[in-house]
Symmetry: C2
């Protein structure tokens, strides 16, 4: 059985990992995409950073390694969210052509385990490596057709991300240590991709245990300085009922 690839003899040709790294930059939600280098083509296809796993590594380990090899990023907490296994997910002509360049077994059915993360964009400057000719943050509204089933993976990752924020599991490090409610609302709006009602939003925030009003206001602004807030550690919540349905459609 031939389990080698053109990249390494140690590779499992049947299972890959893909990483959906979302970046928040105060006003936009972006996703990290690579250009798949192709020796015979001028234009490269865009794709999520992803590659085959090694025979002797776990899936989480593979995701961190692959992300690092393709984009040079490390130290990002990656959360597994879904496995994609349509039998024909890597079998369209453009995908095939690329796979024939890079894989010894381009016809193998590959099942991919997908991971996502949300980071503060300014803290991560992606580089390139392996078959990535470039890596870029792309606004989620401007994502073109991607390689393989990567548009579908991205959509599902967005769902997973929105699920997280709907349950208030937001990255505490996405905002400055002390932030205004406008900044917090903007974070929710950018991730949910729609405007929220200011009054309802503030009403809900007041009831949240992990957001605390400070006895401080903004400085150095031209408008009336807004009150500042901070996140506080709440004790482990054992039973966390979702009660306030702010926006019903």
């Amino acid at each position: 059985m031939n389990t080698s690839s053109k990249q390494s003899p140690n590779i499992n040709p049947h299972v890959s990992v893909d990483c959906v790294i979302f970046g928040f930059d105060d006003d936009k939600l972006k996703v990290l995409l690579i250009e798949q280098a192709h020796p015979n083509k001028e234009t490269h296809r865009l794709a999520l950073p992803g590659d085959l796993v090694f025979e002797n590594e776990g899936l989480d380990e593979a995701a961190a390694r692959v992300l690092n090899e393709l984009t040079r990023l490390k130290g990002i907490f990656l959360r597994q969210f879904h496995a994609f296994g349509n039998p024909d997910r890597v079998s369209n002509d453009k995908d095939k052509e690329w796979l024939e360049t890079y894989r010894t077994d381009p016809n193998a059915r590959v099942i991919t385990i997908a991971y996502f993360s949300l980071v503060k964009m300014e803290e991560y400057n992606p580089g390139t490596g392996s078959f990535a000719a470039a890596s870029n943050w792309v606004d989620i509204h401007d994502v073109p057709e991607l390689a393989f089933d990567h548009n579908q993976i991205l959509d599902k990752a967005l769902e997973a991300l929105r699920e997280e924020i709907n349950h208030n599991r937001i990255g505490l490090d996405l905002l400055p240590k002390k932030f205004t409610l406008s900044q917090l609302q903007r974070l929710y709006e950018v991730i949910l991709d729609r405007p929220l009602d200011k009054r309802n939003f503030r009403k809900s925030i007041k009831k949240m245990h992990h957001i605390k009003a400070l006895d401080e206001r903004q400085t150095g602004v031209n408008h009336k300085p807004a009150q500042l807030y901070k996140f506080v550690q709440v004790k482990k919540i054992a039973l966390n009922f979702s009660l306030l349905h702010l926006f019903q459609e």
Copy 2:
């Protein structure tokens, strides 16, 4: 490349699916386990219903098929929750011995995609098929050492289930159409596996949009008849803040 198994020439030897079917029976949480038939052994190992996927089927499809082949159950909504891919997850001696009986490539690294579901136990009577010598509902407190990494898969499935109920995504069909708050509390307690404070529980329930008090009481009981409640359809919740932290540990 040999992709056949002793069961079918159409099998992908690298990827499997496993199903964690929880059953609720008003007072207990159980899980559906099969006995892995072994031609040369009297005692069979217990395992989750799971098997390799076919080359030409999707993962969801494989999960439904495998569950049906092993336990004869069908029509259960299966939700994918995690992929398990430790390189040595099927390589202990007992696992190997069984795999050598059933698989042509017993040393292949198998990555498994796990699914879970919660059903009303009395509505599902499991049977047997394929390599399952028996199938039984087992109390989650009485689960012995299982084959492969199935104890770990079960633990993770329990986490996923508790996450669901913590966000009030409970199966509306697990209770009678009209139920008492004691019945509802018992459902939460059984799944969370710990007692809840009655007063706090009732306070929270009153604020839940999808649980409605009826102008009716129990009949045919010896004690003071309790008020009845029902689940109501709530509109799609777009932003669902979790506000009340009932129990902090």
